[in-house]
Symmetry: C2
Subunit: 289 residues, 2 copies
């Protein structure tokens, strides 16, 4: 049970968590905070949170769990604001898409990595954003990755794990570094590539016509290029090292494909395509889930 | 009206055309041909074609329209087989994904580009293949590109255009070269990239785990990596020049993105992402259609 949960940033992610926990009766009180009183009032009207304060220090006071659901670029500012009003018993967790950068932001803000910081990342989301788009079932059968730190208290880690389990999510633990590598490969790289291909085609002479002849494969392939540019800028900058590593591997693979096509090496091409198809098909059921 | 239509290769594409034309009563007779009597008998049983012969010369005899629906790599073989049994009045058309290579294959087989060759390419398909997957509505509101050649007879071009209009498709004309450029950008490049990213991730140490954490964006992004490897090998080799050109542009764009991320140039990154999102959103309705 959580006595007082404070959600900083009440959008799709924070709002859906609040709705799920309310359904389970897992929190006595859920308080929201952000810059916009209008957005927070809407969250109250929708029954997502119980109350709010745009004064972050006011909002977190007495909370046993604070969950920070702001863009990666705003994490340090939030940590700096709350650091003087929290106690060692206050658990701080987050939902950021890269974890090392969150730990670094906390270290800069607190002067050390707080023992009560338990970084987390739910692998869930939709095309939409904002509290209006939130729903209690968002995390059902989704994975939530926690990246506990060495100095964390195991009981506090368990409390955050139990919180996520209430939402129907599967909770996994991994190291900060491993999280950042896995997410760079499975999420950050595809987004960069999707933005990249749309940019490439947009630079072509017959841009308008090109999109006109694009079929279903292209539509699916570029859907994620409609994602929020600012969020993805933040992710690229905050998970830079892991992303650059996998981008370099990918560019080298593209150069390999380029030379196989240049040499009309049909045998090597079909071998590579077959291998990729085999893996994609093998994981199809997993990806459907 | 078509007196006798001969479809060489009765799968999803040829079968769906046959079904649509039968519904409209646009052909007096539809004859199929391919290597497999079993497949052809199934097409007869399904009511897709009226009759068949595995002897291609026998099948095309007396046809006013022959449509070649075989993989790009088999086009020259088909042209060589039929060249001695057709007359100048026999229209030859096809459904290949690249057009210059089809013209080249015809030139090699016939010793010159036949005046009755009217290259075509319906921009339609599903994940499935085979005549069992064919359906009359496949081409409704889809685009069919014809790339008429200089020495074509306009009446014969009109006849092929009318055939496709029966299926509910929109017919567009463009040059062979322009078709190959547009398709390289909108279809061939995305497929190569999708095979490429799955290959890149498969080479990583924690392959299994990586796919486990992949979410919806990744699923859509790599769906086309489940496509037929042999067909895509053929397309890469047959549309080599146009594909290499757009691949080079894309790799250069990836290198640009790499250095922007390396330099943590948030401003340039969000500008590029915003531009791509704007274009993708603008064409969203078009791509939904």
């Amino acid at each position: 049970m959580i006595e007082k949960l404070c959600i900083i940033g009440v959008g799709l992610i924070g709002g859906s968590l609040a709705r799920a926990l309310k359904e389970k009766g897992y929190c006595k009180q859920i308080v929201g905070s952000s810059r916009s009183a209008d957005h927070l009032q809407k969250a109250v009207d929708l029954g997502v949170i119980d109350s709010y304060s745009t004064d972050m220090q006011e909002a977190v006071k007495g909370a046993d769990v604070i969950i920070v659901c702001v863009p990666l670029g705003a994490m340090e500012m939030v940590f700096s604001k709350i650091k003087d009003v929290i106690t060692p018993d206050t658990i701080i967790t987050d939902v950021g898409s890269s974890k090392q950068s969150v730990v670094d932001a906390a270290e800069r803000a607190f002067g050390e990595i707080p023992a009560s910081l338990i970084p987390g990342h739910p692998i869930a989301g939709t095309e939409k954003s904002g509290v209006e788009a939130s729903f209690a079932e968002l995390y059902q059968r989704r994975k939530v990755i926690l990246t506990p730190l060495e100095n964390n208290n195991p009981e506090q880690v368990e409390k955050i794990e139990n919180m996520w389990l209430q939402t129907g999510a599967e909770v996994r633990h991994m190291s900060v570094q491993h999280h950042d590598e896995v997410l760079a490969a499975t999420s950050h790289l595809p987004h960069v590539l999707a933005f990249g291909i749309v940019d490439t085609l947009a630079k072509m002479d017959s841009q308008q016509e090109i999109f006109e002849y694009a079929a279903g494969g292209f539509r699916d392939f570029t859907r994620i290029a409609s994602s929020d540019p600012v969020m993805w800028r933040d992710i690229c900058v905050n998970n830079r090292d892991a992303l650059l590593k996998v981008m370099r591997n990918y560019i080298e693979d593209m150069e390999l494909l380029y030379s196989l096509i240049e040499q009309s090496d049909g045998e090597a091409l079909s071998e590579l395509f077959e291998g990729a198809k085999g893996i994609r098909d093998k994981f199809n059921d997993m990806l459907q889930g």
